[in-house]
């Protein structure tokens, strides 16, 4: 008969360990002789994601405002200290953990789940907690004997651990190539590639692996078009085994000491869906829907941790505790309840519990009505509650500095102003807000249940027009990152916001005199298009029947055989209108300079809008004439248009504040770098000499404060922020995870220890103390800075310095300037 448990927990990460610890606690209290739960782990150790961190990595315990509620300890510290603590907890609490038990299927229903593992076991359980994270399991070799062992490894921590061995690396991705090249320093290496080329690798790795294979002096060999036929495990540890390879020319046996298989991971989604759990959105970041108690659509099957959309360790551990309590029928108050109370404290009408406020608000906002309550709760936790007060009352009410407290605003004051860089999203719960779509545009009334601010949310551009709190308003202000997460996982919210965006974008661009119903009909016929960098929107010489209203990103117009760039257009602007206003033949090629989204408006819809408001046609014609003059002027200056093309190639199409150096003026004194280091704790965020140049314009490696910053995409503690004036900066909640460094396509973020403070300029100048101004070539971090770990550093455009960017102010020759995108044309034409 199969083993049977009350609770089966799948995945021994922080969430799973915490749940198992709590379940063990219940067993102890009830005096159960056998554990009533089992923790199943597919890998040979617990918390494999954290085990894979580099040695000594500092792990943070954000968010600081949440308390830990778990029998398993967790405070910020080194990877080793945390893993030791968990190991200790597993040992002393006698946690019933089973390693190497990858779950392959879950069937059945509440009270009678049947769980199959890769080792052929079947376990039955009344409740199942899924805490498998989002990393997925490594793909295995798929032949007998391929379980992780000393002989077969699916990860490689330290390549220098192995020397003078014969090692077979299986895989053709970046991880396989990097491992193989590192191992080849001291070992004989074979790399096995299923295909006939390394097409998945990054350029750098591709060149490196080809160079290594062709280098006759190195013991580095490659098998192309080869599959794994089988393994001969070594007889004794340390002895050689062998791998059987099915090559294009027949079977081959290669003796080796070790096999490193880097075949990528299997994302968990397929497995999750095979268990009957629904994920409503096709987006890759989508998470399963769960109720207030973390239960999925399959009764008795719970989802917690990163898989449920909570990537922070502490959140995951708290959920592990809570979910076990819920299964035991204890309806504990969630650990974040005090935060909700704080948020609702300043509301004009008091309600007994925060849950009641939540359900009232959710019912008032049509778009959020059908959201799952847990997701709505999370949305409110991450949002600010803004309450409007009459001026007199506002002055009497003391402000609370707590980051979760209700925020008071004065009636008649702006919620945001034209030109401000903010990307948060506002939902009106009560009262009234007035809003414009352009700086001088007409005022629109926003009623309770409606939202605004979606333009900047989607385009990343500064606010167009202002929004003013009228009276007694209650607003939910949600940060962009939370809205993006929600839009990715909730199709209804995404479609709702999108629709309003389209209507307002059309209203702003064409100022039609049409009813909302008519606009909605037009919006239904407008197509949203997405373009990758470099992708053509339309080509010169084609016949066109539509114009494109740019929603986000930058589009260049280019012309002729050489495709000279004659104009660049931003979000909110139109390209291709000639086809509808003059001849249908496209005069230019429109290309997405960076990832871009457009709204494609065809002739019937365009005519309907244009005919409703005669002024519009005139304005559009004026706009077109201006554009034509511009393009004509650029087309007659090929040098300028080549320079613009160069700037766009460097990704400045998405820049809001870019450093551009004139090489004809730069004397290479590096005072800019020194100024950067001296004003930013000793670390320069600017690498002057690196980066591309063209016609004496040089784009150094430094942050250009993108419209939609890539770095802000995936920051677990939300440490990357954007100031109202546009600077993208890193707050001190950074945990040093390195996601931003990886996500930045411009290499502008690095991880660094904090260097020691330097002696003063005078003691360097007169007594030769310290290394002088600027970032030292190398430094040994103090123990204190090692303990607090490496943190991400990047340019903040000196937002806290009165005089503006230090790099520019320190340049003695005027070579360094910082520019906004609107100045690029002027820059190249001035040359």
């Amino acid at each position: 008969m199969a083993e049977s448990y009350h609770i089966a927990i799948i995945g021994a990460g922080p969430a799973g360990l915490s749940a198992a610890g709590r379940a063990a606690h219940h067993d102890k209290e009830s005096g159960a002789s056998n554990p009533t739960y089992v923790l199943l782990e597919g890998f040979s150790t617990f918390a494999k994601t954290i085990q894979k961190y580099q040695k000594g990595k500092h792990v943070m315990d954000t968010p600081g405002f949440l308390d830990l509620r778990s029998p398993v300890p967790f405070v910020a510290g080194t990877r080793e200290a945390i893993l030791d603590g968990w190991q200790n907890s597993i040992d002393t609490d006698g946690i019933n953990i089973r390693y190497n038990s990858e779950v392959t299927a879950i069937e059945g229903e509440r009270g009678n789940f049947s769980i199959k593992t890769s080792s052929g076991e079947t376990i039955s359980a009344e409740h199942v907690i899924m805490s498998i994270g989002t990393q997925g399991n490594p793909r295995t070799l798929g032949v007998p004997g391929d379980a992780e062992s000393d002989f077969v490894l699916y990860t490689l921590d330290d390549p220098e651990e192995f020397q003078k061995e014969t090692i077979v690396v299986v895989g053709a991705g970046d991880a396989a190539i990097e491992n193989a090249i590192a191992l080849a320093e001291y070992n004989k290496v074979y790399i096995v590639n299923r295909r006939n080329e390394f097409s998945r690798a990054k350029d750098g790795n591709l060149n490196a692996v080809l160079a290594a294979i062709n280098d006759k002096s190195r013991d580095f060999h490659c098998f192309y078009e080869t599959n794994i036929g089988g393994l001969e495990l070594p007889d004794a540890p340390g002895a050689a085994g062998a791998i059987i390879l099915n090559t294009a020319t027949g079977e081959e046996r290669v003796e080796c000491h070790r096999i490193i298989a880097r075949l990528g991971t299997l994302p968990p989604r397929k497995f999750v869906e095979s268990c009957g759990i629904e994920i409503s959105s096709p987006s890759a970041d989508a998470v399963p829907d769960v109720d207030n108690e973390y239960m999925s659509n399959v009764p008795g099957l719970y989802v917690i941790g990163a898989l449920g959309g909570y990537p922070l360790i502490k959140q995951a551990m708290n959920q592990g505790y809570d979910v076990v309590e819920y299964i035991h029928g204890n309806h504990v108050e969630p650990v974040d309840t005090p935060i909700l109370k704080k948020k609702f404290q300043g509301l004009p009408i008091k309600m007994p519990t925060p849950e009641e406020v939540l359900s009232l608000y959710q019912s008032k906002i049509p778009m959020f009505r059908r959201m799952n309550p847990l997701a709505f709760r999370e949305l409110i936790i991450e949002s600010r509650i803004l309450v409007g007060l009459e001026p007199g009352e506002f002055d009497r009410t003391p402000a609370d500095d707590d980051e979760h407290a209700t925020v008071f605003i004065k009636d008649g004051e702006p919620v945001y102003q034209h030109g401000e860089y903010s990307t948060s999203f506002y939902t009106l719960v009560e009262g009234e807000v007035r809003m414009q779509l352009d700086e001088d545009g007409a005022w629109h009334d926003i009623k309770p249940g409606q939202f605004f601010g979606e333009m900047s949310l989607i385009s990343g551009r500064p606010r167009q027009g202002s929004a003013i709190a009228e009276r007694d308003c209650i607003l939910i202000e949600t940060p962009r990152r939370i809205m993006v997460k929600l839009m990715n996982s909730n199709e209804e919210v995404r479609a709702g916001i999108d629709r309003v965006f389209i209507i307002r974008a059309l209203q702003s661009a064409f100022k039609p005199n049409l009813s909302l119903a008519e606009m909605a009909e037009i919006a239904d016929n407008v197509e949203s298009c997405q373009f990758k960098p470099g992708e053509a929107i339309f080509r010169e010489g084609e016949e066109g029947d539509a114009l494109h209203l740019i929603r986000s990103g930058t589009v260049t117009l280019s012309r002729g055989k050489e495709q000279l760039v004659v104009a660049k257009r931003h979000s909110g602007e139109i390209v291709g209108q000639m086809a509808l206003m003059g001849s249908p033949m496209r005069r230019d090629t429109a290309t997405a300079a960076v990832r871009a989204e457009t709204l494609k408006v065809r002739r019937p819809e365009f005519l309907k809008m244009a005919n409703s408001q005669p002024d519009t046609v005139e304005k559009l014609q004026d706009g077109l004439s201006t554009l034509l003059r511009q393009t004509n002027s650029m087309a007659s200056q090929p040098e300028s248009s080549r320079a613009i093309g160069f700037l766009m190639d460097q990704g400045l199409g998405e820049a809001t504040n870019a450093l551009v150096i004139d090489e004809a003026l730069c004397v290479g004194c590096d005072n800019c770098e020194k100024a950067c280091a001296e004003t930013h704790g000793g670390i320069s965020r600017l690498r002057r000499e690196e980066g591309a140049s063209f016609a004496s314009l040089h784009v150094p490696i430094v942050c250009r404060h993108c419209e939609l910053p890539h770095c802000m995409k995936d920051c677990p503690p939300d440490a990357l922020r954007r100031s109202p004036t546009g600077e993208v900066f890193i707050s001190d909640t950074c945990i040093g995870c390195g996601n931003c460094e990886t996500n930045c396509p411009y290499d502008a973020i690095k991880l660094s220890y904090q260097p020691k403070p330097k002696p003063s300029l005078f003691s360097w100048l007169f007594f030769g103390r310290g290394s002088g101004p600027g970032e030292p070539d190398s430094f040994t971090p103090t123990d204190a800075s090692k303990n607090s770990g490496k943190k991400a550093v990047k340019c903040d455009a000196c937002m806290n310095l009165a005089g503006g960017p230090a790099c520019v102010r320190a340049c003695p020759t005027g070579a360094a300037v910082r520019l906004g995108p609107e100045q690029f044309i002027e820059l190249v034409e001035a040359r």
Binding site: D662, E663, V667, E678, L801, A810, T813
Partner: protein, 290 residues
């Protein structure tokens, strides 16, 4: 947008410097009516010019401090540099009029000479600052130095590979050419872009300037090659050394530009220090003999 330090703020400091020089000349001329006291540093006009000159020298030398006060808001470094250039040149007029061209073998003239040397090195510095950056950028041909260094490394790897297929003599020669390559070096080597590359031949170590010795040797051997493969390898080596020659020249030129952009400061700054000392002595001595 990009603005040179000379034209900064529409030549603001050029006009200020011209005004200062003009005012100094007027002041100087007012001395000429007095036949008992010809123009010199001792008249009230002379003292005024001297005071202005001394204050100017002090202020001009403060650029070294301001340049390193990175959070300072007292003008941008470029505005300081622009003022430094124009007022520094105007100082020549002020100081010459102050001393009324009375020279001798004394500490006063020493201070004057040091000042002229500081201004002279400064003018040279200005010249290189204005002319070399463009030449340097042109020399980089749109790439950064690291990428040229990397290409050099790749070429060398290619040469090492190919050298495995030639006879032992040539192999030794080729590899020695890589080992005996020199870039940079002492101050003179940097400034004059001296090519001190050498190569080991059967008859000893000889100069391999411009990689020419090796290219010559290869070109001699190619017609003698007995087998097609040997000729191919030799041709490949020759092409690689040709490319190496180009990259090395480019890098050497780069080193030269960098050295020239810096070297003048090694005179300008210490001379300034010496000037400050001489100036102090000059002022003390003048007051001692009042």
């Amino acid at each position: 947008m990009h603005e040179s330090l000379l034209s900064w703020q529409r030549f603001r400091y050029l006009y200020i410097a011209l005004a200062l020089a003009g005012a100094s000349i007027v002041l100087y001329i007012t001395q000429s009516g007095n036949t008992a006291q010809p123009p010199n540093g001792g008249t009230w006009q002379g003292y005024t010019l001297g005071t202005v000159g001394a204050l100017l020298i002090l202020w001009l030398s403060l650029l070294g401090i301001r340049k390193r006060q990175y959070s300072s808001n007292v003008g941008s470094v470029q505005s300081w540099a622009s003022a430094h250039v124009y007022l520094g040149i105007a100082l020549l007029v002020v100081a010459t009029l102050h001393c009324a061209a009375q020279f001798g073998w004394n500490v006063h003239t020493l201070a004057y000479v040091l000042m002229c040397l500081v201004i002279g090195t400064g003018i040279y510095g200005l010249y290189v600052y204005l002319h070399l950056p463009r030449a340097m950028a042109r020399n980089h041909a749109g790439r950064d130095v690291n990428s040229w260094m990397k290409e050099l490394g790749d070429v060398d790897d290619g040469i090492r590979d190919a050298a495995g297929n030639v006879d032992a003599d040539l192999q030794a020669m080729v590899l020695s050419a890589l080992d005996l390559t020199r870039l940079g070096g002492g101050v003179f080597a940097q400034i004059f872009a001296q090519d001190r590359c050498r190569v080991q031949t059967g008859s000893g170590v000889i100069s391999n300037q411009g990689q020419q010795a090796l290219i010559d040797e290869l070109s001699r051997r190619i017609p003698d090659a007995r087998v097609v493969r040997e000729a191919e390898t030799l041709n490949e080596l020759m092409a690689l050394f040709g490319r190496r020659q180009v990259i090395l020249n480019l890098l050497r030129k780069d080193v030269q530009y960098r050295a020239l952009l810096k070297i003048w400061l090694y005179f300008h700054v210490p001379l300034t220090m010496a000037l400050l000392v001489a100036l102090t002595i000059h002022i003390i001595v003048v007051f001692l003999y009042w």
